[in-house]
């Protein structure tokens, strides 16, 4: 790794100031599970590394019925999946967090880090999309809230501007009975990147669908949701849903999978996830 200066601010204000001052030369060190590998491979070569893990406000999980779930930027994935409130109120998120890499990595990798890294295959993203999470950002011009749907802007690109950081993610409360699932297809059942990821929630009658690893960003399948709206779920409709989802994404061939295979799996996982969220059994 190239040499750099290591800074450890203890406030958000100080962090913003450092980031504004050094611009491209500074990068945030959060969980480090993506960044340190990139630095080792000399893909990332920051001159200033800004460790945000000493900022107390960023390290909290809070839940209340009115505001929902708030997860701070430095909260590790294992903390989230082990949290009673998350297990009780957002089990889909527990599953999504647990599909990331290995237990050791999940002790360091963070939810916010996962979305800021903005890989199209980010495992937490499809679930956050269907939960309609909101991303809380602070920057030199003040605070703002961005719906997760607008947060990803391209392959490994997010909406953050110079000097801005994500302080937390808020997941709105869900009223009434609901169910959801995140299905991940990889080359192996564990410790692998997603070749296709599908998250579906069914809140009363509303179905929300999101896909990962099959477009430049994780993406909601609004057309497909519209197709299913108000209709009874049966096998022909599920098949149509799969076909429809395919038209909303643009899977590619890469080292992990061919485009053709991804296309098949998209259909299968959308079918299965919708069925599961509706309380059916994947046969």
């Amino acid at each position: 790794m190239k040499e750099f200066e290591y800074l450890k601010p203890d406030s958000i204000k100080e962090t913003i100031s450092i980031l504004s001052q050094f611009g491209e030369k500074a990068q945030i060190l959060n969980g480090g599970t993506d960044l340190i590998v990139e630095m080792r491979d000399k893909i990332a070569q920051p001159e200033y590394l800004v460790d945000i893990k000493a900022i107390p406000q960023l390290n909290r999980i809070a839940y209340d019925k009115q505001d929902g779930l708030n997860i701070g930027a430095t909260v590790a994935l294992n903390e989230i999946s082990n949290s009673k409130v998350v297990q009780t109120h957002y089990p889909i998120l527990v599953k999504a967090c647990k599909t990331v890499s290995s237990y050791q990595v999940r002790n360091r990798a963070t939810l916010v880090g996962n979305i800021c890294n903005a890989s199209p295959a980010a495992d937490t993203a499809p679930s956050l999309l269907v939960l309609e999470a909101k991303v809380n950002i602070i920057g030199p011009t003040g605070e703002k809230i961005v719906p997760i749907n607008q947060f990803f802007t391209g392959v490994k690109k997010n909406i953050l501007k110079k000097g801005e950081i994500v302080t937390s993610i808020t997941i709105p409360p869900i009223k009434g009975k609901w169910a959801g699932v995140y299905l991940k297809q990889g080359r192996k059942k564990e410790v692998d990147l997603a070749t296709v990821g599908v998250a579906v929630v069914c809140i009363r009658d509303e179905i929300r669908i999101a896909l990962g690893a099959v477009a430049p960003t994780p993406i909601r399948a609004f057309k497909t949701e519209e197709l299913l709206k108000g209709k009874t779920i049966d096998v022909p409709l599920l098949e149509k849903a799969g076909e429809s989802a395919l038209t909303e994404v643009s899977p590619i061939s890469d080292i992990r999978s061919s485009q053709e295979y991804r296309e098949e799996i998209i259909k299968v996982l959308v079918r299965r996830a919708v069925l599961h969220a509706k309380g059916g059994h994947i046969l």
Partner: protein
């Protein structure tokens, strides 16, 4: 610019100066001569570098040494007290869960961390906890059996 860090390593307090671009793994191996943690991939994929930081298993190749300031580290060398082995270690020996031994330190630390947080794991729990520790020699079954057996024995106590 070197940073002064102070941490506990295997129950001993230590203060050293490190460059920020040194990983925890390199610091353990080069500065503290704790060579049990190994570099099998340098990218958080193989788990051979697993140590406990504040009782949590982490890939030490993905942490910077400066990040352990104020923390407690436990490595394989700190597991036995020099006269008797930890029950997890005893169980690995009993079940023949070791062949070349290279993945063993990381595997034992992951297992130890599991039993610390979940004294009664199922076989699934064990496999999930060890999913990030690669082994090429044993085929894993004996390792899983060793961990379950260690849990049973500790549970009886």
């Amino acid at each position: 610019m070197k940073h002064k860090i102070r941490f506990t390593i295997n129950r001993e307090v230590k203060e050293i100066e490190v460059e920020p671009n040194k990983t925890l793994l390199k610091m353990l191996r080069e500065d503290l001569d704790l060579i049990g943690a190994k570099e099998g991939c340098g990218a958080g994929e193989c788990g051979a570098c697993t140590v406990l930081v504040n009782n949590k298993p982490v890939n030490s190749c993905l942490m910077l040494a400066v990040e352990v300031d104020g923390k407690e580290i436990l490595t394989i060398e700190g597991l036995s007290d020099g006269t008797s082995l930890d029950p997890v270690q005893e169980s690995f020996l009993k079940h023949n869960a070791i062949q070349c031994g290279y993945c063993t330190p990381g595997m034992v630390m992951s297992a130890k961390a599991l039993l610390n947080r979940n004294p009664h794991p199922t076989e699934e729990d064990v496999k999930e906890a060890l999913a990030g520790n690669l082994c090429r020699c044993t085929g894993y079954q004996r390792i899983v059996d060793a961990v379950l057996d260690a849990a049973r024995k500790e549970g009886k106590k």
